[in-house]
Amino acid sequence: MSMNSKSKAWWRELLVPVVAVLVGLAIGAVFMLFTGANPLDAYRALLSGCFGSPVNLSETIVYVTPLICTGLSIAVAFRAGLFNIGAEGQMIVGMLASAIVGYALTGLPRIIHLPLTILSGMVAGGLWAAVPGYLKARFGVHEVVNSIMMNYIALYFSHYLVNGPIKDPNLASPYSPEIADAAKLWRFVGGHGSEFRVNSGIIIAIVAAILIYRLLYKTTKGYEIRAVGLNPEAARYAGIDVSTAMARSMLIAGSMAGLAGAIQVCGIQYKFLDLFAFEGFGFDGIAVALLAKGNPYGILAAASLFGVLNRGSQMMQLLARVPKETAGIIQASVVFLVAAEGIVEGWLPIRRMAKLDVAGKEETR
């Protein structure tokens, strides 16, 4: 019986996002008709632009990879009841740290240099997140305000660094020097300069998702984090150190965002490029985590969807002259529909069943 209800819950969990995606695509189509574009052309462009050729598939994975990490970042913090809006900044410091460790050290073997470079990005991101985490745990200062401020500090600090101390003096542009080859992630096809940019970063991201899942559901630390997130009062009653659990979850969250940055630097950019605005991976990560309802495996799927839509928005412009806003509208619709899940559930017969299940339980026990 429990097996049966479990599998039922599984397809039910999946049904809502799938319907939300379909409706989001329909809303996007209406918008396109409105702007005079042909939705069929557009979605064909999205498909072929994302999956139509090996190189397109490679690019799609490149788009997906950092979203997995930032999605995990938001999800871990969320499990402890914290809203990590600072993944953006944590990712920036992660990129900075990895770029610096990547170029400043030379002559190290890959087996040391690459892990060191990735790790330094994670540590930097973790420490960056620990600041609002500490302020929250110690003084109760709201983490949202702090993380937003930390985002700006990271942005401008990186701008300062890359226009001064870590700028490559041989270049006119504000870029850091290129990292050593020993610090670069392996591109599956054609080496470091390959147009197939897909690299072992995707494997790291998937492993991270598995580890985060295990952390949350198989370890005592994860148990503490989830307990604190669901009911801090009860956690305190039970003797769990609420502040420590919160700070720990922020540290892990930051290291995930830092990992996103490290993978971007070691797998894609090979250097720190001056940012003139937030890249948005951290903010998209919020939507990814929301869509996945914080489940690490769900994040793999949700990040794929958002990665496809992000790349798709570029490819739809390029192949079908569809305004770039279209993908944004689809994304926003999907997130909206998932967040307000009552709407989608209301369309489906599952809602009544689910409700009655609970009601029946209450009534009869």
């Binding site: 995606v21 379909l22 695509l25 999956f51 701008h159 542009s173 300069g193 971007q264 605005a277 992000n310």
Partner: protein, 340 residues
């Protein structure tokens, strides 16, 4: 959990079956594509000007054209590569932010020609990417002219400058502007502020508000992308003067935009494309200034400066174009012109 993707695939595959035949983009003339930075179209200045160049290519030379607006900096490289992959003969990166991306993609697609605005590579770099043309502008020359206009228009002997980010390109605007002001009156106050962003009109407005209100400036020149739109709004609110940048921005506030420092990105794109398509092209940087008519003042219909001021500025324009005066490129050099 790949089923989400699978659903998408199925949905879109059905869409393809239902949809009509594939519509190609084949065109006889060479195809030109441009990638905009995250500022995108509609900034009323830099990117829009590049778009004018693209349209001129389509209209006058019959090139097939296409543009892509980037959502984030990470889109630059894939967008440039996608255009190359789709068979565009000339691919432009609009803005120096794409310097690294253009360099990487140009190596991957040696048979495609690439252009970049506002960036020049070193000789050594060009050897690896002989298919790239870098275009630089002497913004300081055009900025000098609006500096002259500002100095001859101010009643308070105080003028302002609002930059976007604190970077070398924008320094050239600042240097030229200051030189123009101080060549006219070396005792004038020039207030300089870098807002740090190119895409925040609200910030631009608050910066300019304080210049107009607290610090008595009555002419403010901006080189700050859409942040500058806020500067122009502030001038309108206070009944003071703003000076536009890149495109003719007079239409944003016809009575409060004194003039605009025109940077003809369209000229760069148009002329640059022609250079790139000439047989035997090799990688190099071209610098465009007053002499090439690539920077300068807005057309007379958009000029609100007095006749005498305008005449003075045009006189300077000839001097500079002839090379008889070299406008300082760095703020530090311009600052030497200031006398207490």
């Amino acid at each position: 959990m790949k089923s989400l993707n699978r659903v998408l695939v199925i949905l879109l595959a059905v869409g393809m079956l239902v949809g009509c035949a594939f519509s190609g983009f084949a065109a006889p003339a060479p195809k030109v594509g441009i990638v905009f930075d995250i500022g995108g179209l509609g900034d009323q200045s830099f990117n829009d000007s590049a778009y004018v160049g693209l349209q001129r290519l389509a209209n006058e030379l019959g090139h097939g054209t296409r543009y892509v607006e980037s959502n984030t900096p990470s889109d630059y490289e894939p967008n440039l590569a996608s255009l190359a992959r789709e068979g565009y003969d000339v691919v432009w990166g609009i803005g120096f932010l794409m310097a690294d991306a253009v360099q990487k993609v140009a190596k991957q697609f040696p048979n495609t020609k690439f252009g970049i605005i506002d960036h020049g590579y070193s000789e050594e770099e060009y050897r690896a990417i002989p298919n790239v043309l870098g275009i630089l502008y002497k913004e300081h020359e055009g900025s000098f002219l609006v500096g002259v206009l500002a100095a001859l228009t101010t009643q308070t002997n105080t003028v302002g400058f609002v930059g976007g980010m604190d970077i070398p390109v924008i320094h050239r605007f600042e240097a030229g502007y200051k030189a123009g002001v101080w060549k006219t009156n070396p005792k004038m106050n020039v207030i300089v502020n870098y807002s740090g962003v190119f895409d925040d009109p609200g910030k631009g407005k608050s910066v300019a508000d304080s210049m107009f209100r607290g610090r008595k400036a009555d002419v403010v020149f901006h080189a700050a992308g859409s942040t500058g739109i806020g500067v122009i709004r502030a001038a309108e609110d206070h009944g003071k003067w703003a000076i536009g940048v890149d495109s003719d921005q007079n239409h944003l506030a016809p009575n409060n935009v004194l003039n605009s420092m025109i940077k003809r990105v369209d000229v760069g794109v148009f002329e640059g494309t022609k250079m790139l398509l000439k047989p035997g092209f090799t990688g190099r940087t071209v610098v465009l200034g007053l002499r090439e008519n690539a920077v300068g003042l807005a057309p007379e219909k958009s000029n609100r400066a007095s006749a005498s001021a305008t005449a003075k500025a045009l006189e300077w324009a000839k001097i500079i174009a002839r090379g008889e005066y070299v406008v300082p490129e760095f703020p530090a050099d311009a600052d030497k012109l200031y006398k207490k």
